[in-house]
């Protein structure tokens, strides 16, 4: 029996010593529990919650869940946004597809809220310090002859434009990014490269590795998403225009792009808690259909809607993190673990399609029907899965913490000028001549609104070569400035910079384990040095020479150094969870099948046959 896991493990069991009916039972049991269609209530989460008394205290420790009006108001305040908070949907009266709470441009009226079940309604994502903001929406299919949705869209656009300087750019992601089905197709091809269970197969595929990677297109999809996000960042940061991104449904690629934009622009989201809040805001509250996309229920009719969109987002984050390591408080291990957790049907985070779905199910499943809804853990309660030591691996030891600022205070005030330091070039900035615009607000509003709208109607493909070069210029301009890990971050999108997430994909393949090496070797060394630094500081403190240290928060941990020292003699495997290699056969992996795959053909062929140094050996003569 061979089992392929979603986290890319492959298990092989021999059933030759078991009775046939036992074998059958085992096989059917697995198939029944994990491959056959079932209803949501059969998921393990519900039996798990019923049987586990779950301490409420830990819940929501710090991650902003965006399940209350206050969370939204606070986030808007944090980014100095100036929009309207809508709480009319708290009982899903407006539309079950909309989040319980959300934010729209202040010009959207009550009446507008109820039309088209939330479609076309610009939902606020994030405000730039210049005042412009990012919105996303589910697009309304435009039917010809029917003018009504279009007028509504125009109205909504004007409302978005009104948010800042009467400018707006729109981007229909359905036209410019791959469809969710294509994402799935590409990922399925991609993951086959890692579901390898024998050495021969592994080395056979090794020679064609790069072109196989290229052909499955997965890295290219990642690049496209990042590029789109950079385009949006450029609009916000350089042109200071409002941006409205849209797609059918408004909760897949919109989530990918809007979260990436926020990661690039806002250092808060690059902290561990900030990142978790971002996922809550854009994905969980934002109504990404986790249940359908991951198809936990194995429903045949839902097979089509299955797609690893969230994983795609994590992939993009990983790329950013690889390129700008010290800017992120969380580690790649954290991302790997998070990507695994999507498939663990225990956490409310990834079980539902949207807010109202969650609310309905949790209420219905609650044992105390009249009282609170069922209390399930969220994925952010990492202690459910991992002990403290393992959780320590989630943070990046090389994170460059913002000096003189206590990042543990979640909603810390960020002075404007600090972020402006990272602007690509202040010369590019449109001078905020707000006063001037206000004077002629009414006239301008009309003109601009129409103008932008016509631009929006342009087919995006005709624009794309131009945008690609403008993105390039934007990146280059940004690159010439000194890098600020707490300012704007842009990814390099050139071929060599987009890479395979080794830790996630290669971790179970024995042949690629680097014994005693890999990034983990460096991390453990870093931690060792850290331990020494802390120990030294502790000694300094004890001697009364208190340093005017700017990181009082980093309390020395006395035992650190010794713990690490004990470990340093042991060889770690290069893959998470970094097992020590004492029991491993310490033999190098020698590539097999080198001969048959040898390659120099055609034109190079005659070169290969030639002598290194012209004629034959002299001593022959």
């Amino acid at each position: 029996m061979i089992i392929h896991c979603k986290d890319l493990r492959v298990f092989q069991f021999s059933l030759s010593f078991s009775k046939e009916e036992d074998a059958k039972k085992i096989f059917q049991g697995i198939v029944h529990h994990c491959l056959e269609p079932k209803s949501l209530r059969c998921l393990f989460a519900f039996s798990y919650c019923e049987n586990t008394s779950y301490p409420e205290v830990q819940r929501k420790k710090q991650t902003v869940m965006f399940d209350s009006v206050e969370d939204w108001i606070q986030d808007m305040k944090r980014t100095k946004g100036n929009c309207r908070v809508v709480s009319e949907n708290s009982n899903f009266e407006l539309s079950p597809k909309l989040p319980q709470f959300f934010i729209v441009p202040s010009n959207v009226s009550d009446e507008d809220l109820t039309k088209y079940q939330g479609k076309g309604l610009p939902m606020w994502c994030w405000s730039h310090h210049s005042g412009c903001a990012l919105f996303k929406t589910a697009s309304i299919p435009l039917v010809q002859e029917d003018n009504v949705p279009q007028t509504y869209m125009e109205k909504m656009l004007t409302a978005v434009a009104h948010n800042h300087l009467y400018s707006v750019k729109t981007e229909d992601l359905s036209d410019t990014l791959p469809a969710v089905q294509d994402i799935l197709l590409s990922y399925n091809k991609f993951k086959q490269f890692f579901l390898i269970d024998n050495t021969t197969e592994f080395w056979m595929s090794d020679m064609k590795w790069f072109s196989s990677l290229d052909n499955c297109g997965w890295l290219d999809i990642i690049r496209q998403c990042l590029q789109k996000a950079v385009e949006v960042v450029e609009c916000l940061e350089k042109e200071n225009t409002n941006v409205l991104i849209m797609e059918e449904g408004g909760s897949d690629l919109c989530c990918v792009v809007s979260s990436l934009v926020q990661l690039m622009l806002d250092p808060y989201y690059r902290t561990l808690l900030g990142f978790q809040s971002l996922v809550q805001k854009e994905w969980v509250a934002g109504g990404h259909a986790f249940l359908d996309r991951s198809n936990h229920l194995h429903l045949k009719d839902k097979a089509e809607s299955q797609s690893p969109v969230f994983l795609l987002f994590l992939e993009c984050v990983w790329q950013l993190q690889q390129q700008h390591g010290p800017a992120f408080q969380f580690s790649e291990t954290y991302l790997t673990v998070l990507s695994d957790s999507v498939h663990v049907p225990v956490f409310t985070t990834f079980l539902f399609n949207n807010d109202s779905h969650r609310d309905n199910i949790l209420r219905a499943e609650s044992p105390h029907t009249q009282r609170s809804p069922l209390n399930c853990p969220t994925v952010w309660d990492w202690s459910v899965q991992f002990d403290c030591k393992a959780q320590d691996l989630f943070t990046n030891p090389l994170y460059s913490e913002k000096p003189k600022q206590d990042t543990s205070v979640r909603k810390s005030y960020r002075p404007k000028h600090l972020r402006q330091l990272s602007l690509p070039s202040s010369a590019f900035k449109t001078p905020p001549k707000k006063g001037f615009f206000k004077d002629e607000a009414d006239n301008l509003k009309k003109i601009l609104g129409v103008k932008r709208l016509s631009r929006w109607m342009l087919s995006p493909s005709s624009e794309s070569p131009q945008t690609s070069s403008s993105v390039r210029e934007f990146y280059e301009a940004w690159q010439t400035k000194p890098l600020d890990y707490h300012g704007l971050l842009l990814p390099c999108l050139d071929g060599p910079s987009i890479r395979v997430w080794m830790q996630r994909y290669l971790r179970w393949i024995h042949d690629v384990q680097i014994l005693g090496g890999g990034p983990v070797a460096m991390l453990s060394k870093v931690s060792e040095i850290l331990g020494e630094v802390q120990e030294l500081q502790r000694q300094l403190d004890r001697h009364g020479c208190t340093l005017t240290s700017n990181h009082k928060g980093a309390r020395p941990r006395a035992k650190t150094a010794s713990v690490i020292a004990a470990r340093s003699s042991v060889r770690l495997s290069s893959s998470f969870p970094f097992v020590t290699s004492r029991n491993w056969l310490f033999k190098p992996a020698i590539p097999t099948s080198l001969l048959q795959s040898l390659m120099v053909t055609g034109m190079a062929g005659n070169l290969a046959d030639r002598e290194d140094d012209g004629g034959g050996p002299e001593s022959l003569v």
């Binding site: 393992a390 691996l393 080794m502 290669l506 005693g516 980093a554 050996p617």
Partner: protein, 596 residues
């Protein structure tokens, strides 16, 4: 300070960007001085000229070019920040005129310069008055001094350093460190006057039982007299790495009893049951070599030996491969299907073959079996294999000074033909003897440092610096083909060693994460999954590719290190419990089957 001027390569915080076309302004300030007055000791200004540099990244730039007997230096006049170029003339491979006096189009008249360090430069000049004639002539003369009866710059340099790099490698000391001579291996001075083999060093280590007469006899049966000699011995199990050239078997399948007995002496020395001979070439090539008098050790002749072919291609294949690589990375990185293009260069594939060959050698040695490594002449692929295997086996070579010893020993003293492979000062750019074998080796080392970030005392800067001065001709280290030629040309007394520069500022080349561990064998993984293109070397001229250097991370941010310590991890869910949700939906039922 003993050094009269601070060496250019040494003076910036980031050497990797040092000579890149876009320099920080601080850099260019220093260089301005240098271009105007303070040159390297011994460096002389020859000409300067207003010129347009056609930068592939920022477009045409007006500025001034300075040519000395050591370098070409360009500074833009009006770009901000100023764009500078600092190219040692030694790095220039080819200078050509571009366009004619009547060529149309903007900037169509000028010079086209091909460099050995993965870049090309284009300059445009005014079309009237043969404006490029003088600069072309001067460039041609000073970039290829040997073709014009001039001395290489290393012989003109007056640089002084605190350290004397020529004392880094002392053959006897190195052999003593390895525990040699001993009762099985002896040191011989038979080659003291390069009479046995003119491309070998003077001091050789051979089996104790082999007499000088035996050596002379073996010498006749090995290509260019490069007999099997010891490179490295394992302290515990006494297994040895020996290197040599191919046996002169020829079409008729000649045998040589002395050679056979000699190899058996190597086997005997530590009681190895079977000696393994690694022939670096593909077997087809080894067979083909018989036609020109070479060949390989046949089974019947060498009964106590097993022969393994390592399938590494020759210098011509490697040269073409790197050329293809340059095509896809300079000036612009291939945009569509980058990975497929990379694969089609085969560069990483060759790297993989070299590393996996070296792994096999190291593995045999760890297992207590002696090996003999050769290719055709034993100075290209052989040097790659032995030195990489030694790097895996012996942690001493992974230190800053140990690595210098390794290069001095396996590459320089054993006659890797640097002069021919690089073509120092030679105008014949199409010379078929040129090949980036040493670059490829340094790439392999880099791949190892990537896989074992804490195992090497030196950092990436050292590797880049080595490659820069492989071409620059500022130091004597990589000049000439072999020791006999170096002696004839009094290299060590008349030039400065690269290690003088490096060892005068060791901390600059140190890896902050280095964790010394002696007696540890490193086995890198020779899989394409782990091999990467060395972007910070091959694509370093492209300003868009700005890779994070780990050293940078550490030095810049050490002030704010924060985080919980590294601890071992075992998830509470355990290693082998698999949540049901993790099971995948089968693509087809064929994936699931039962065996009974």
């Amino acid at each position: 300070m003993a050094s009269a001027s601070i060496p250019v390569y040494n003076s910036s915080n980031n050497p990797l960007e040092n000579s890149s076309s876009h320099n920080a302004s601080r850099e260019s300030l220093k260089m301005e001085l240098l271009a105007d007055c303070s040159l390297l000791p011994g460096e002389e200004r020859i000409i300067d000229k207003d010129i347009i540099y056609i930068c592939p990244f920022s477009g045409a730039l007006k500025g001034k070019v300075f040519i000395t007997n050591y370098r070409l230096y360009f500074k833009s006049a009006d770009a901000d920040p100023a764009v500078t170029l600092d190219v040692p003339l030694g790095a220039i491979g080819r200078v050509e005129k571009m366009g004619g006096a009547s060529s149309r189009g903007e900037n169509s008249y000028g010079l086209d310069i091909t460099c050995k360090d993965m870049r090309n430069l284009r300059f445009a000049l005014k079309q009237e008055g043969h404006s490029r004639r003088d600069i072309f002539d001067i460039l041609f003369k000073y970039a290829f001094p040997l073709s014009h009866g001039l001395l290489l710059f290393a012989y003109l340099s007056q640089e002084k350093f605190e350290e004397n790099g020529w004392s880094v490698y002392k053959p006897m000391e190195e052999f003593r460190r390895q525990g040699l001579p001993n009762d099985k291996w002896r040191v011989t001075f038979i080659n003291a006057n390069y009479e046995l083999c003119d491309t070998y060093p003077t001091i050789l280590v051979v089996p104790f039982k082999a007499t000088e007469e035996d050596l002379r006899k073996v010498c006749t049966f090995r290509s260019r007299g490069r007999i099997p000699v010891l490179s490295w011995i394992h302290r515990e199990n006494q297994a040895v790495i020996c290197r040599c050239s191919q046996p002169l078997v020829g079409m008729s399948g000649k045998r040589n009893k002395d050679d056979e007995r000699y190899l058996d002496l190597i086997r005997e020395a530590n009681g190895t049951a079977k000696l393994t001979i690694y022939d670096a070439r593909p077997s087809v090539n080894a067979v083909a070599n018989k036609a020109t008098g070479g060949g390989y050790e046949g089974d019947d002749a060498y009964q106590n030996a097993e022969l393994v072919f390592l399938d590494i291609h020759n210098i011509h294949v490697m040269r073409e491969s790197l050329k293809k690589l340059k095509d896809i990375v300079y000036p612009n990185v291939e945009e569509s299907h980058w990975l497929s293009s990379l694969e089609s260069t085969h560069w990483l594939e060759h790297i993989k073959l070299v590393i996996s060959g070296a792994i096999q050698v190291a593995d045999k040695i760890s297992g207590g079996n002696s090996v003999v490594v050769h290719c055709s002449d034993g100075w290209d692929r052989t040097a790659q294999l032995t030195s990489l295997a030694m790097l895996m086996l012996d942690s001493h070579y992974r230190t800053l000074r140990g690595f210098q010893v390794l290069l001095e020993k396996e590459w320089i003293s054993f006659g890797h033909k640097f002069a021919n492979r690089i073509g120092h000062g030679d105008k014949n750019h199409a010379d078929q003897d040129r090949s980036p074998i040493f670059v490829q080796f340094i790439d392999c080392v880099w791949q190892m440092t990537k896989q074992f970030p804490t195992a090497f005392e030196f950092n990436e800067r050292l590797l880049v610096t080595i490659l820069d001065h492989l071409f620059s001709c500022r130091f004597g280290t990589f000049l000439f083909n072999c020791e006999s030629a170096r002696d004839t040309n009094e290299l060590r007394s008349k030039t400065v060693s690269l290690w003088s520069l490096v060892n005068s500022d060791l901390s600059f080349y140190q890896n902050p994460f280095y964790t010394p561990e002696s007696n540890r064998v490193l086995y890198p993984v020779a899989s394409m999954r782990h091999l990467e293109l060395w972007v910070t070397y091959y694509i370093r001229w492209n300003p868009r590719i700005r890779q994070q250097s780990t050293m940078g991370l550490f030095t810049v941010h050490h002030g704010s290190l924060h985080s919980p310590p590294w601890v071992s991890s075992q998830s509470t869910m355990g290693l082998f419990t698999v949540p049901m949700g993790l099971f995948t939906v089968p693509m087809s039922n064929a994936q699931y089957y039962t065996e009974t």
